[in-house]
Symmetry: C2
Subunit: 335 residues, 2 copies
């Protein structure tokens, strides 16, 4: 399980496009109180509209980590990036990266970390060993976001739902299972990076026993209908032992992205299959609603689409970007 030291200095490096700095924007928006400032190289034209702080200045003001908030092309960190990260390490800050290439493959970073005792943390990887899943019923309540595909709003929905529950006075914790989620939460596990035998075991550790009325809102991964990643999804479903599922979907997709031969099942069937899978470790599981990424639809089309789904499935249907997730939070708390 990763544990990160906050607050963060967000490193934009030489980013020229906002879309290259998705991680940095996500952190600014979802853990605003934990972000102290931004640092970029002279070449960068992107800003988060946060205070500009050098690594040394940020460390002086108490920053715990510098987070690489941009994607490195081909996973290689250019020399001018390394200089900024070394400065942060020398000032005592940890370096947090979600890149594929491990920080420990850069000798100058390893040397700087050894000098100061600071840590190199690769949130995309997992070096921890986990026990096998036990299936033991844990106390507290859990909701898991699941999807008809990857990359259609499972993390966003879980974050929004956590906030909505907290706004209603409920006790709720976002549980991160992917690298950006781990950075936002400051802890969690990149579930797709653990050894296959221990997917469910790692998911069990992620949402331990809790107070009876506490909600863990668990970030889903992959999809049960995904030819590459369904194993991760199923292990996460089993280890999470969710009381409730929220199904996330993008109506512009008929097939799994990048897999044109893999049709996405109709939503009633998708719900049936997720509930069937989840009932192995929690027989009381039910789907409490749908979270739709409706960016492909006009306002009128979205209204029609949502109304039709509500009538067909008899469940709340929201788009977190179009009116929020209140109906899902209400459904969870009403149960």
């Amino acid at each position: 399980m990763h544990k990160l030291r906050k607050p963060y200095l967000l490193f934009l490096a030489d980013a020229q496009l906002k879309s290259d700095a998705k991680t940095a924007f996500g952190l600014r928006d979802w853990c605003t109180a934990d972000v102290m400032g931004e640092w970029r190289l002279p070449e960068s034209t992107v800003t988060l509209d946060l205070p500009r702080l050098s690594p040394t200045d940020a460390a002086r003001q108490g920053a715990g980590s510098i987070v690489i908030g941009v994607a490195a092309v081909g996973g290689v960190l250019p020399p001018q990036w390394l200089a900024a990260l070394e400065e942060a390490l020398d000032a005592g800050m940890d370096v947090v990266s979600g890149q594929h290439t491990r920080l420990t493959t850069f000798p100058s970073l390893v040397a700087a970390a050894q000098r100061s005792g600071a840590k190199l943390i690769d949130v995309r990887h997992s070096d921890q060993t986990f026990p096998a899943g036990t299936g033991r019923k844990r106390s507290g309540k859990r909701v898991l976001t699941v999807g008809t595909d990857c990359a259609l709003g499972k993390k966003y929905t879980a974050l929004a739902l956590t906030q909505a529950l907290q706004a209603r006075g409920a006790s709720a914790t976002f549980r991160a299972t992917g690298q950006t989620g781990v950075m936002i939460a400051g802890e969690g596990v990149a579930i797709d990076a653990v050894i296959a035998d221990f997917i469910a075991g790692a998911a069990e550790q992620l949402s331990p026993d809790n107070a009876p009325d506490h909600w863990d809102v668990i970030e889903g991964q992959g999809a049960l209908f995904h030819p590459a990643y369904a194993g991760v999804t199923l292990g996460l479903v089993h280890g999470s032992q969710p009381d409730a599922l929220v199904l996330c979907h993008d109506p512009s997709r008929d097939t799994i992205e990048g897999y044109p031969d893999c049709p996405i099942p109709d939503l009633a069937d998708a719900i049936r299959r997720y509930v069937e899978a989840a009932s192995l470790t929690n027989r009381a599981v039910r789907c409490v609603g749908l979270s739709i990424n409706s960016s492909c639809l006009s306002d009128a089309a979205w209204s029609d689409y949502a109304a039709t789904l509500r009538a067909t499935l008899k469940l709340p249907v929201v788009d977190p970007m179009r009116g929020g997730v209140d109906a899902l939070a209400d459904a969870l708390l009403a149960a």
Copy 2:
């Protein structure tokens, strides 16, 4: 993907009980032609009834690897075991281990391997990186053994089915996904040891494109209904893209072994769910029969049980230990 050097010298160490040497007996029985002899310490009272050869003598006669054929208590290899393994390494043989503890954690083995250039091979672990699954349809035919639980005959059934197909003149290859299977085949991957994201991708590599009438007989792992290991199972099912499934079952079990709260579904439902899962990457998949571990039943009870299942499920039902798997081989070739 592991690749082992045959022929083998089987190391029985100080085993006192046949049951401690299951791996050695399995290798003797399933890859007889690849086993040159056995070597044991003076304390051992177990024999495979094979020629006794010291590591040095075996190497002189062309042995490629010494295989640890017994389980080490707590994963620690005692000093007298290490001496024998060092002798083998010094004679140029690789050491093959299926223990949890990696061979590289024993400095004297690492030193001996460096001296001779021989390899330390931990078949329970996987240090290879695999690509993500593609879902691309491959040429050739594939049958996968699946189960209602772990440890009830999936490997045994796959091995027996490979032999039965070959005996009928069919071209067939056993594809190993667990440590003992890898030792028997001399190659394969411990699928539960790969990084979660790449389960399906590793399974795709395991059974590459082949001749149109060639059968890969793939060793299944875990169970879709297992609270710890279902993720491994699902990824293996998807990456294998089987044309045919054989369901393995032990009628003495009502619940998953070690998980008394997890009932095993009835067999028709188990078949439905495996076929549903597998149809994601091969819409033509079908279950061709059942392989029953009937050791809990008398001859009469087995006859009744098998007859009832055949009538109910309209499928061949065999026990590899009670009459073999001919009916499954016939069903595969008839299709």
